[in-house]
Symmetry: C2
Subunit: 428 residues, 2 copies
């Protein structure tokens, strides 16, 4: 930001509206926007964008169109109530570079609510922390986009480039929300996604595949238990074998730029298990839902081929009993990506970050999935994933640092002003 | 049977009605009398008994009354549609010994139906086998009771002692059906239960406890997977520890009469598993439904105390991570029993078996639960568990040998005649 007066006007505007920003973040957190239940939270976002005079677009995700895309995740839910919301700002004068401010509205399940200190939907504030499922991942960032945008107008300015504010679904399971927005034609010169990244910029991240492994058993009465074959035990044995693949992939990290120094970038997570139907029957089947990571540059197709080949090599358990395990994809089928160094977008964000934080923006590699891959890989758009400090995302007592959110909001606001350009508002 | 003429009349009567018996067995198999869904099958049994002129009694199981009984299983379903059916025959002349002919109508789940050669509810006949869930365990036996009773009347005879024909529920999960019949006041000088026992008499059998083990984890995002604690993995570790207890109990078999020569009488079956709620979250919990056996003479209370103590000793997994596992009973809480040698009831059955099979009745020890314990332990009634040859009970393509059912029916009919006594029918 070359003009310190404009900078200060914007920073003051963020501060002035920050109580309202925090209150609105709490309101969004109070909507349990679990998968396929995002509707009421999207209503809220739609109303908030509409009130700001944005051109509104809301559409239901189209499973058919998505299925035709190589980067789409497998859909095993009904998209009947699954909508994206996008508000578009069209500048009166077009001078700067266009921008997508993206965030996801969907949140992961809470686990047993009793394990939380308070309800995951309370949006309780304690000291610097705002608690709640989705507080960090990523409702604070989603709302920060909106209030950073507001700050320019509050400061008597208006951006001079097109801006799309996106509230997307399906980031936690398929990435189909951002993909559907891309398929709908939304594109720009850069995208910014304020995921909870500890005030840092993501340089590289992994792709993710979701799959279900089913292992069949041979049910019997427990009076002849050893004549049967326990599918639940066999499933555990299969996981042991899949962890060989996980370790083999981790051992290759030295060959993957930006992953060399990570301890364990490839995590195979056994997230869900279900098997058997009767305590007194040797179980006939066991199904496990798994998530595995892949390096940027490894296609999901390649990784999947390796998974299938490895599973096919599992033909017996430790005791030599034959095992039949089959794998089916049931969500993410996504490649990782690298934010190439030296982009103008990164330079602009570095400058904004320095203004607010008084220090250089750090970059890092994260072993998690990011929707940035949609824009980078399929839109050729540089993706800046950059957001606040959080704790316990996907865990109990998920929380986000309120002061971090304030600083990130300021940094985003300065970035918008720099990237899109601003002029004195004709409205004021 | 001292009178060979009467014997032959009875045996011929079983043969004469055997096609009808088989057809009715098929009809009963076609009713999927899974737990809490026994109603339509009980309607059928009620009608069949009523048509035979029995005094009918049908009642809903009373959870409150059952809960007060030390041998009751924990009830975690709604008993709203869960009824027992008993038909009582009162003799015109009371001369012999009274008898309960008991069988259970409930069946265990089928597992994936596609793994069956045909629908589990088809009651298909192929050669000597009648297929279907519950065909062996124990609808063939339940119907055999009824047709053995018929044979006496068809032979122009009538029993000279009270007979209760019982169709009970809940044998596969709690034993509360037979227990409720006992609580209702049904008692007799002997009980016969034609469970699928390979044409043999059960000398001894195990008790069974059902319980659920819950293991809690520490959910996180898989990007920081190793900071979390996977409850599904931990659950597997807990099972490993419980199998130590199973092996310790098996090692004690030499001290338990009738169990000395069994390879592995105590089976711990991991029958159901469910854990986690999201592929991309380290799972927060895992629950396992287990079934374990106990020797006769070991009370369920003692066994349960040992299970709880053993679980309490499990405080870490193999890697030293703290584990918290809790156990809750959720079904059977039943002691095993021994059919003491030398009873009059056994002598009578031995004689009947010899007449039909031309060989001595064999006895054996089974590592499975039997409702016989209800009558033996709480009613002081000798329990003859004796029934046909079956294959794959609780498995796919469960089946029962038709010719075995025919012979068992004859043997039961002769036993009734001997035990209860018969006189020439006044009706004919």
């Amino acid at each position: 930001m070359s003009d310190p007066t404009i900078r200060d006007r914007i920073l003051r505007a963020v501060d002035a509206r920050f109580d309202a920003q925090l209150a609105f973040t709490q309101e969004v957190v109070r909507h349990p926007s679990l998968r396929t239940q995002e509707g009421s939270a999207q209503d809220l976002l739609h109303r908030a964008m509409e009130q700001r005079g944005l051109q509104m677009d809301r559409w239901q995700l189209d499973p058919g169109a998505l299925a035709a895309h190589p980067g789409a995740g497998i859909i095993d839910v009904d998209y009947g109530d699954v909508d994206n919301v996008v508000g578009t700002y069209e500048p009166t004068v077009e001078a700067g570079r266009s921008l997508i401010l993206n965030g996801h509205i969907d949140v992961v399940p809470t686990g047993p609510e009793g394990a939380w200190s308070a309800s995951p939907w309370d949006a309780r504030i304690d000291g610097d922390w705002l608690y709640g499922r989705g507080s960090g991942d990523m409702k604070a960032g989603l709302v920060a986009n909106l209030f950073a945008f507001d700050a320019l107008f509050d400061a008597g300015l208006e951006p001079t480039a097109r801006i799309h504010i996106q509230s997307v679904v399906e980031e936690e399971c398929t990435g189909n929300g951002s993909l559907s927005a891309l398929q709908r034609g939304y594109t720009a010169d850069a995208v910014l996604i304020p995921e909870p990244e500890e005030d840092m910029l993501v340089r590289a991240n992994v792709g993710v595949i979701w799959f279900r492994v089913r292992v069949d058993g041979a049910p019997t009465h427990p009076r002849e238990m050893h004549a049967g074959f326990n599918a639940i035990d066999a499933a555990h044995s299969v996981i042991g074998r899949l962890r060989e693949l996980e370790e083999a992939w981790n051992a290759e990290r030295g060959q993957h730029r930006y992953f060399e120094d990570l301890d364990h970038p490839i995590n195979l997570n056994l997230g869900i298990v279900a098997g058997g139907d009767w305590a007194s029957s040797v179980p006939a089947w066991c199904e496990m839902d798994l998530r595995i990571a892949l390096y940027p540059g490894v296609t999901a197709e390649d990784a999947w081929e390796q998974i299938e080949a490895h599973l096919a090599s599992v033909t017996t358990d430790e005791a030599g009993n034959p095992i039949r395990a089959t794998a089916t994809r049931n969500g993410f089928f996504a490649q990782g990506y690298v934010l190439e160094e030296g982009s103008d977008a990164e330079a602009a964000l570095r400058a904004s970050h320095r203004e607010v934080f008084g220090s250089e923006l750090e970059t890092f590699t994260t072993p998690g999935y990011l929707d940035g891959r949609v824009f980078t890989q399929y839109g050729g758009i540089p993706s800046l994933v950059y957001g606040p400090i959080s704790e316990a995302i996907h865990g109990y007592d998920e929380r986000v640092s309120i002061e971090s959110v304030r600083r990130i909001t300021k940094s985003i606001a300065l970035f918008i002003a720099d990237w899109c350009g601003v002029q004195e508002s004709s409205r004021s």
